[in-house]
Structure formats: structure tokens, C-alpha cells
């Protein structure tokens, strides 16, 4: 009885389902079937090639090849660019020189740490060289052999001497620009602010590097004082440093042009006046 009731309750929907199934005879056209199945077969043939390509040599070894290419690029840069090779050695000892350098008291000096590194670095290449510019700053009254011996001694003791140097002198040496215009700018500013010691170092360095003679009056005024030996060592370093840069600089880099010469003369005159004023005071 209960089962009959369930059958009766299911009857209306079952009748509809039966009627629907009886009428559900529509099928897609055969041409449509063939098109779809053909598309499926075509896709089946193409799929393995597209989805799973065999890794080629370049893909398989891509990390090793990229690393090797990077190494070759860096090595090539060092081989083709000797300046990088030369400057790499001083940079290795840069931290020691930075520890020795005094605290910069101006923003300009603080912004030029790179100039300090070559000064503080050991310079074996420069020590072995001889150049006309070096001979020009040697003391005239000293025999060549004795002068050379003294230069070697000074070069060996440079680090120890610099440690004893006055902070302002160290700053002046450390912040020296390499190009003549920069050095002249520096000299101008030193004269203007009254840093005559720094100006004197700059003048002597420029005169040495460019084989310029100083007026007698100015030469006397710039006569070395009690720290003459220290400044002399610094000048030796400046010379040697300039020789290093001559490797890559043109030959006429050590010659002042007309404008620079005029500017040099004017600065000498100003420095002379400043020294006289200071002496009068």
C-alpha cells in the first residue's frame, strides 16, 4: 500500500520524464560530428609539440651560459679598459685611508671621498717610474742619485708621515682635483676663504705638474716651514699620482692653454697679495 502510494506520487514526474525521453531523439548532423572529431584529432596531433617542447641546448644550460657570459663581460671590460685595472688596486686599501682621514669640515670635502682613495693607496707602479715631471721638482742643488734615494725614502714613509700631518693639510691634499680647471677652481676658493696653506700646497703641486716657475717673491713666501718635509712627501705623491693618470691622458694634458695660463697668473697675483696682507697683520 505504501509502495503503491509512492509510485502514484512519482507518477506525474515520471510520466513527464518518460515522455521527454521518448521525444529526445534529436542528434547533431553527421557533418557537424565529423568536423568536431576532425578538429579534436588535429588538436591531438599538434598538442604534444606545442605544450611539451623538448628543451634545447640554450634552455637546458641557460643558467650556466648566462653566468659564463657575465664573467666574460666583466673580464672583457677589465682587459679593454686599463684604467679600471689600475684603479682597482688602490680601492682595495681604501678603508684604511678612510680611517686615517680627518672628519671633513665642509660639505664639499665630504662629497669627494673618491679623491682620497688614490692618495692613500700604495703605488708600486708609480714608484717604479721615472718621468720628466718628476725630475722637474727635484731639488736643484742635490745630486741625482742622492735625490732619487731621498725620493724613495719619502715614498716609503708617506703613510707614517701623513698620519702626523695637520688635518687641514691632509684635507687639502685629499681634495685636490685632477684636472687643471678643477685645481684652479680649488685654488681660487682657497684664496678667497683665506686658506693660504692649502693654496700654497695647490700652487706648488700645479707648478710641479705643469713645470711652471713661480715668481721669486712668491716662491719665498711659499717657502717650506716646519712641515716642509711632510709637504714635500705630499708633493711627491701628487707627482706620482699625476704620472698614473698620464697613462690614459693625452700628451698635452700637462700644458696650460692660454686661458688657463692667464688664470694661473692672476691667481698667483692674488695669492701674493693675500700673503702680503697676512704678513702685515
Amino acid at each position: 500500500m505504501t509502495e503503491n502510494k509512492r509510485d502514484d506520487a512519482a507518477t506525474p514526474e515520471s510520466q513527464i520524464d518518460a515522455l521527454y525521453r521518448e521525444g529526445a531523439v534529436e542528434q547533431p548532423p553527421q557533418t557537424l560530428d565529423q568536423q568536431i572529431l576532425q578538429q579534436a584529432r588535429n588538436n591531438c596531433r599538434q598538442a604534444p609539440e606545442v605544450i611539451r617542447p623538448a628543451p634545447g641546448f640554450w634552455q637546458k644550460h641557460r643558467y650556466g651560459l648566462s653566468a659564463a657570459a657575465s664573467v666574460m663581460l666583466v673580464a672583457g671590460l677589465f682587459i679593454l679598459n686599463p684604467e679600471l685595472r689600475n684603479s682597482s688596486a688602490p680601492q682595495l686599501s681604501a678603508p684604511a685611508s678612510l680611517e686615517m682621514s680627518p672628519q671633513a669640515d665642509s660639505a664639499e670635502d665630504a662629497a669627494q671621498p673618491a679623491r682620497l682613495q688614490p692618495m692613500a693607496a700604495p703605488q708600486p707602479m708609480a714608484a717604479k717610474r721615472t718621468a720628466p715631471q718628476e725630475q722637474a721638482v727635484q731639488q736643484q742643488d742635490m745630486p741625482p742619485q742622492e735625490s732619487a734615494a731621498k725620493n724613495r725614502a719619502v715614498a716609503e714613509d708617506t703613510v707614517q708621515q701623513r698620519a702626523r700631518m695637520a688635518p687641514r693639510q691632509q684635507q687639502a691634499l685629499a681634495a685636490l682635483p685632477r684636472d687643471i680647471d678643477g685645481r684652479l677652481d680649488r685654488l681660487t676658493s682657497a684664496i678667497e676663504v683665506g686658506e693660504l696653506e692649502q693654496a700654497a700646497v695647490l700652487v706648488r703641486g700645479i707648478a710641479a705638474d705643469y713645470q711652471l716657475t713661480l715668481p721669486d717673491t712668491l716662491a719665498k713666501a711659499l717657502n717650506p716651514n716646519e712641515s716642509a718635509q711632510v709637504e714635500e712627501a705630499a708633493l711627491q705623491q701628487l707627482k706620482q699620482q699625476s704620472f698614473i693618470h698620464q697613462d690614459t691622458a693625452p700628451e698635452n694634458a700637462q700644458v696650460l692653454n692660454r686661458e688657463q695660463s692667464e688664470r694661473w697668473q692672476a691667481l698667483l697675483e692674488r695669492l701674493k697679495q693675500s700673503l702680503e696682507v697676512k704678513e702685515n697683520h
Binding site: P12, E13, Q15, I16, D17, L19, Y20, R21, E22, G23, A24, E26, Q27, P28, P29, L32, D33, Q35, I36, L37, Q39, A40, R41, N43, C44, A47, P48, V50, I51
Partner: protein, 200 residues
């Protein structure tokens, strides 16, 4: 079976065939196609008056299945996936909902349908009447609201449960159940009325 074990696949043969096809077995797709082609075809034909459009959408559905085979993952039932594609294509092309003509839905009288399809008892040996009823049912299905029609067709053709139909149609389970229930009720009313009209 080996493939199922390797991929942690569900047990359905449809999913197995689909993965086999993705692995390069064209015969697996053919089996899959033969199994589902009629139901999917009628899913479109019964909902669209334009036969050409229905065939285009039917072909486009299979085309998408073929293209997506390589990325197919048996995380869902294949039939659900197939009819979901079909549903999306359908709603992209057919936005308008056709109203049911003069079909009333009276939820307060759930037993009112009794023996509305019963004229065959009045005419026991009527093959002609049976074939007429089949034709009337098709007409009545065409008169159903779109959402009820789709729910009814998915129920009939895909064999999906109400839960899976709701996933295909993007509706809640309760709404899907209601749609199916109303569809049956409307069809009973429609068939009863047509039967009555034929007797008169």
C-alpha cells in the same frame, strides 16, 4: 585507471577519457563525444528557436573543450564543466527571457497536478495520442521561462544533481530546486490543458 592513480583523479570515466585525450588519445575524445553529443545538442536546440545558432553554439562548445583539453584538470565533474561552457555561451548569445504563455504556477495547490497527464488511461491503446503528448511536451518546454527551461533540460539531459545544476547555472541550490519543481508543475499543467483541448 593508471592515469587516475597518478593524478589523484575522480573515478568518472568522462574525466579519465578527457585526461587520456589530453595525453594524445583521440579515441578517448571520440568516446566522450558520442556519449554527450545528443544531450548537449538538445540542450541548445530546445532553448533556441534558431537551429543554425544552436548548431553554432554546439560546435563552439566542443571547440572550447578541445582547446582547453591540455589545461584540463579533473577537479570537477566533466559534465559540469561541459555544460558550464555551454551555459556561458548561451547566455552570451541569448539574453532575453521568453515569458511562459498563460502558464500559471500555483504553489498553494501542490496536488492539483494529479492525473493531468493521464489521458492515456482514457484512451488506452492510443499510439497516436502518445506521440501527440510527446509533441505537446516539446511545445510546453518551449513555453517555460528560460531559467526553468534550462534547469529542466540540465536535469533531463546531463543527469546532474540539483547541486551541480546550480553550479552550472550559477544559482543557489534552493533556487535551482524551485526552478525544477516549477518546471515540472508548469509542464503538467500545460500537458493537461492540451490534452483537455484535444478531447474537446
Amino acid at each position: 585507471m593508471e592515469l587516475q592513480r597518478q593524478t589523484g583523479m575522480p573515478s568518472g570515466e568522462d574525466e579519465t577519457w578527457m585526461l587520456a585525450y589530453a595525453a594524445g588519445d583521440a579515441q578517448a575524445f571520440e568516446r566522450l563525444y558520442l556519449k554527450h553529443k545528443g544531450g548537449l545538442y538538445r540542450y541548445f536546440v530546445r532553448q533556441l528557436s534558431d537551429m543554425t545558432l544552436a548548431e553554432d553554439l554546439y560546435q563552439e562548445t566542443w571547440s572550447r573543450v578541445i582547446k582547453a583539453a591540455q589545461s584540463y584538470q579533473a577537479s570537477a565533474k566533466f559534465t559540469t564543466w561541459l555544460y558550464r561552457i555551454a551555459h556561458n555561451l548561451l547566455i552570451d548569445h541569448v539574453r532575453a527571457v521568453k515569458p511562459v504563455d498563460s502558464l500559471s504556477i500555483d504553489e498553494d495547490e501542490p496536488d492539483a497536478q494529479a492525473n493531468l497527464v493521464g489521458p492515456q488511461t482514457a484512451e488506452p491503446d492510443s499510439e497516436l495520442l502518445r506521440s501527440r503528448q510527446v509533441a505537446w511536451l516539446k511545445e510546453c518546454i518551449g513555453l517555460l521561462p528560460q531559467v526553468q527551461k534550462e534547469a529542466f533540460l540540465l536535469n533531463q539531459e546531463s543527469g546532474l544533481t540539483a547541486q551541480l545544476i546550480s553550479e552550472v547555472a550559477g544559482a543557489t541550490l534552493e533556487a535551482t530546486k524551485s526552478r525544477i519543481r516549477y518546471a515540472y508543475q508548469s509542464l503538467r499543467d500545460c500537458l493537461g490543458r492540451k490534452t483537455q483541448e484535444s478531447i474537446e
